[in-house]
Symmetry: C2
């Protein structure tokens, strides 16, 4: 979920280098090696750069709490526990999900170079932030990237049900487009992401009808009561089915948690045993990559130049906004709300790392 | 034997063997070999068995018309034009999509046995009926199956746009569940499929708000005017992005048609150059397949037994209804509306094949 902030509602622009060094220092204080902390910091703040504000540094306090509580392992030995042909299973040893999924994505790229396609799953992983970051890794290598994940908590009911037994299990797809911004789709299978709802709650804004229902199926719009409700899936039974399929493929098939097992983990404050999957696909096995990206660009231009819906502004191409935000934020800094900055200041006190205000460009 | 289910609802029950022999005979009259006709008839009527009524024998007149007009090739030489490692591209030589995609699915299963995962694309294909049929083929082999396709016509606008440049590009996912019905999701990326809208039009029923909008974004509920409107994607920009990603991967990457190229093809009544993709995945590379299906069954039981939403009837597990319908229709026959039976009678006159009523069990 992309949340753009307005210039006038109490935000500060922070250079991404300052964010990354802050995150890295905080993670080192939690016991990560310097190399792992730097790698995780880059993956976390990449989400901030591309505008997935709910999945970047916003989540740092949650990661720090879990590392200090021992529910995330600061010194994981991430490894391939199964590898055969074009598939692999990565055991994250309960490390930060960012490190685990980046490992899996690198493995998928390596295998896809050999076999044309690769499917790599993770187990004993954790929350990995923004899926777009990992779908983009094969794209950097000129490949198609697909990422999907089991969410750590169940916020959605299966269609026809009134118990939240499914996560908002997201899927991200990255497709190279040559010189233009790649197609980079990153969507939860719910109408609204939990992050978007948290943001509404933070700002005291009513939730649109169609985001959340109560246990009787009635719309729930009070953001303070969102926790009592269940997120609605996209397309009703369609999003519910997609979430289930992702849960079985990214979770169960990897030996990771899904369904009621997730509730038990949450109740016992145990390691999350998150599961993700990364697919990498070598376009050159299908057609000349340059011809492919040229054709993609032609079609994207057709969409971009097609008649807009009155009032909609512009035709939305997934990934264009991310690339635009990335360039803008690299140049102008990442906008952080004052509320988030205050939280991060508390964290800096707590961990004894230099505050953001003391890091600067 | 043809039996009437209920005297008052204009439905007849036809044994699936009668449907299949009718389809096969009709296709032979259009120039297909006996073997191809029988294979296509089985794939077409499988959609009727599992209840995808808009994608089975309902489409036969359309296929016959295209075969007679020469826009579908009755004697295609379907072949792998590229095969390297775990990927392949199948050229359908403009044959019936059913034959082309079944060829691709068999190739994907064969490659996945060797490499663990396989991704096979098609070009110069045609409408292939119900995606669930092809996602189920790897499932029969104990594998996960994924199918996606570019729709032959553009009925959906990209999000923010008012020109229909995207298809309802469907995705189907099949996941083995041991002795129980497999998970078998088959969804268009639009809220409603074109078939569902056709069905409403046939019955003169108003379209629900949220299915179709006009070029100003206003709801269009008159089924007779559906052709003027555009289908809405599931989850707004999310379904639009999914449709785009499927179009680029199942279409452009395979050298098949997408976007404005589809409109040109339709205008010139040329061969459709449809594209599809099939992924097969060997579960045994990830975990013991029996342990996998046992865990899937446990989770499906959890969902099935969870609290239902008041008024919803039951929790919906994708694939359960299909399996139930399949068993019921195998035993009781496939229900055909009198309107459809009349159309098929016309076809039997036209092609000089024995009518359904003369084919017994």
């Amino acid at each position: 979920m992309v949340t753009e902030m307005n210039a006038d509602d109490g935000i500060q622009r922070i250079p991404v280098e300052a964010l990354a060094s802050f995150v890295s220092d905080a993670l080192v204080k939690c016991g990560l090696s310097a190399a792992d902390a730097a790698a995780a910091a880059e993956l976390i703040t990449e989400a901030d750069l591309i505008g997935v504000d709910t999945h970047g540094i916003f989540r740092l306090p949650q990661y720090v709490n879990a590392l200090r509580a021992g529910t995330i392992n600061p010194v994981p030995r991430i490894s391939c526990v199964r590898e055969a042909g074009a598939t692999a299973v990565v055991d994250g040893d309960n490390g930060l999900g960012h490190l685990v999924v980046a490992f899996a994505a690198r493995k998928a790229i390596e295998l896809a170079r050999t076999y044309g396609v690769a499917w790599v799953g993770t187990r004993n992983s954790n929350h990995a932030g923004a899926g777009a970051v990992y779908a983009a890794m094969p794209v950097e290598a000129g490949m198609v990237g697909i990422y999907a994940a089991v969410s750590g908590s169940n916020l959605m009911a299966p269609w026809g049900g009134a118990e939240p037994l499914l996560g908002t299990n997201p899927i991200a797809v990255g497709i190279p487009a040559g010189e233009g911004a790649p197609v980079l789709l990153d969507i939860a299978t719910s109408v609204a992401s939990f992050g978007a709802i948290k943001n509404h709650a933070l700002q005291g804004k009513a939730l649109p009808v169609g985001w959340v229902v109560d246990r009787n199926g009635q719309p729930l719009t009070d953001p303070a009561r969102a926790g009592e409700g269940m997120l609605l899936p996209i397309g009703g039974h369609k999003g519910s089915g997609l979430s289930l399929a992702i849960g079985l493929l990214a979770g169960v098939m990897n030996g990771a948690a899904f369904g009621r097992d997730l509730s038990a983990i949450a109740r016992d404050a145990k390691a999350s045993n998150s599961g993700q999957l990364v697919i990498a696909l070598d376009i050159g096995r299908f057609m000349d990559p340059a011809a492919f990206t040229a054709t993609v660009r032609r079609h994207l231009d057709d969409l971009r130049r097609s008649a807009p819906m009155p009032g909609a502004g512009a035709v939305r191409i997934p990934g264009e906004g991310r690339e635009r935000r990335r360039q803008e934020r690299l140049a102008q800094g990442v906008p952080l709300s004052n509320a988030l900055t205050a939280k991060l200041d508390d964290l800096s006190d707590d961990l004894q790392v230099r505050p953001l205000s003391a890091r600067g460009a």
